[in-house]
Amino acid sequence: MLALIEGLVQAAVLSLTALGLSLVFGVMRVVNVAHGEFFMLGAVIAWWVATLVGTNPALGFIAALIAAPIIAGLIAVITDWLVLKRINYDPEATIVATIGLLYILQQSVLMTFGPDARPVEAPFNTRLAIPWIENTDAGWALYWPWGLSTTSYKLFVIVAAIALLSLIWYIMSRTKLGLILRATQLDSETALAFGIPVERVYALVFGIGAALAAVAAVLIVPIQQAHYLMGADPLLLSFIVVIIGGLGSLRGTVIAALIIGMSDGIISVFFTPTLAKIMATLLVAMVLVYRPQGLFGTRRV
C-alpha cells in the first residue's frame, strides 16, 4: 500500500514530464534532449520563489506553481525562436542543438544556484496513517500501523497531477486550441494552407512542453530537493515512457508512466536499483528496435 502511493507519486510526476516531451515530439517531431533541464529549472525556480516569498510555505508554493511554468515556458519559447526555428526543425540538428541547450541551462544554474541540493518546504505535510488489514489471531482485523503512513502532500501531488492531465486531455480533445494542435501534428503544411500559424503553434507547443516539466518539478521538489544535476533522471525516464507508450501518443504516455512509476518501486524490491536500471534501459532499446511504434501505439501508414 505504501509502495503503491509512492509509485503513484512517481507516476504522477513522470506522466506530466513525459507528456511534455511527447507533445513536443508529436506536434513538432523534435526530440528535446534538454527536456530534463526544464524540469530542473522548475525545481530551482520553485526554491528561488519560495525563498523570495519567505515565511509562509503555502504562499511560496502557490507562487512557485505559477511562476515556474511561466518562466520555463518563456525560456523555451525564446529558444524555439532563436534556435530551433532557424535550423528548420531538422531532426539531427535539433538534437545537437538541444544537447547544447541542456548544458547551457544546466551550467548556468550551476553558476547561479550553485552545486548544492536545496530543499523546498511543502505547503502542508500532515502525516496520514493508512489502514491495513491483517489476519491476526482474532481473525481479519483492520488497524493503523505506525510505520505505514504517508503525508497529505503526497496525496495532493497525485490529485494535482490527475487534475492537470485531465485539463490537458480536455484542451486537446475538446477545444479549438487542441484541434489546431492536432491538425498541425497530422499535416503542418496543410494546416498552414488553412490559416493555422504553424510557427506560432510550434513555439507555443515547445513552451507548453517545458512548462509541463516545470510544473512536475514544482510538485516533486518538496519531496526531493532542487539540484542542478537533477534533470538527468526525469529525462531518461521520460524517454522510456514516451518510447514504451508510443511516440506522440498521449494515452500511451500516461499508461506507460503508470507502469514505469509503479514498477520502479516493485522491481527494486527484487533487484538492486542498478540492475533494475540496466534491465529497463536494455528493454527500452529492444522496444525501439523491434516495436518502434511503442507497446501501445499503432503503426501509422
Binding site: A183, L186, A191, L192, A193, G195
Partner: protein, 231 residues
C-alpha cells in the same frame, strides 16, 4: 482577380517554375494542364505561400501577396484543395470542417450551406476522415475548402483515382461555384474533365508556359491537348 507573373520558384536549389504567368478572373475557370513534373502543384503551392518564389509576383485583387506570411493567405479568401486531398486523417469529418470554418471565422450558416452541398458528409460527421471512401474524402476536402467561402478556389487534380460518378459531382460543384462568381484554378490531367468546365486552358511544360487557349479555340482545334499532354 488572381494573377501570377514571372514566377521563378522551386525547392532549394532545384528550380521548378520559370517565368510562369497564370491568371484567373471572377467567375472564370482556368484549367492548368501538363505532364507529370511540369510544375502544376508547385504553382499552386506558390500561390498559397507554401513555397516562396525566388522572383515574380502573386497578386490577389490588385494586392501583392507573395511576401505575406503563409498562414494569412487563405484568410484573404483563397481556398485550396491539395493534390491527394491531404485531409487531417485522424480527425473526424466534423473536425476537418471546423478547421475550414476557423480559417475565416465562418459560422454555422456556412457550415450548413456546405453540408447541404455534400449530404453524405452530414451523415458521417463523427467518422474519422481516413475511414471514408475515396469519393467521400474528396467531398470532404472540397467542403473543407468551401468553408472559407473563398473568392478563388484552387483544385489540384481532384478527379485523380475517382470513379466517374464522383468526377461528375466535382464537375457540378465547380460549375455551381463558377455561377456564384468564384474564380477557379483547376489542375487536371483528363481532357474530358477539362472540356466540361474550362473557360481557358493553360498548358505548362517543364515549368514554363507552353500555350494558353480559350475553350472555343480548343473545340475548333483540339491538337494542343495531344501536343502538350496526350498521346
Amino acid at each position: 482577380m488572381l494573377k501570377l507573373s514571372g514566377i521563378n520558384a522551386g525547392y532549394g536549389k532545384n528550380q521548378v517554375l520559370f517565368e510562369l504567368d497564370l491568371s484567373v478572373d471572377k467567375g472564370e475557370v482556368l484549367c492548368v494542364m501538363g505532364r507529370n513534373g511540369a510544375g502544376k502543384t508547385t504553382a499552386m503551392k506558390t500561390i498559397m505561400g507554401l513555397i516562396q518564389p525566388n522572383s515574380g509576383q502573386v497578386e490577389f485583387e490588385k494586392r501583392k501577396i507573395s511576401k505575406l506570411a503563409p498562414h494569412t493567405i487563405p484568410k484573404l479568401g483563397i481556398g485550396y484543395i491539395p493534390q491527394g486531398r491531404r485531409l487531417f486523417s485522424e480527425l473526424t469529418v466534423a473536425e476537418n470542417i471546423e478547421i475550414g470554418l476557423m480559417t475565416r471565422k465562418k459560422g454555422k450558416a456556412t457550415r450548413d450551406k456546405v453540408l447541404d452541398m455534400f449530404p453524405r458528409l452530414g451523415e458521417r460527421l463523427k467518422q474519422r476522415a481516413d475511414t471514408l471512401s475515396g469519393g467521400e474524402q474528396q467531398q470532404l476536402a472540397t467542403a473543407r475548402a468551401l468553408c472559407l467561402e473563398p473568392s478563388v478556389l484552387l483544385l489540384d487534380e481532384p478527379t485523380e483515382g475517382l470513379q466517374p460518378s464522383m468526377t461528375a459531382l466535382i464537375r457540378e460543384t465547380v460549375l455551381t461555384l463558377k455561377g456564384e462568381g468564384v474564380g477557379i484554378i483547376l489542375v487536371e490531367q483528363r481532357e474530358d474533365a477539362v472540356r466540361a468546365v474550362a473557360d481557358r486552358v493553360a498548358f505548362i511544360e517543364n515549368g514554363r508556359n507552353a500555350a494558353t487557349h480559350t475553350i472555343e479555340e480548343l473545340t475548333e482545334d483540339p491538337s494542343p491537348f495531344r501536343k502538350h499532354v496526350g498521346i
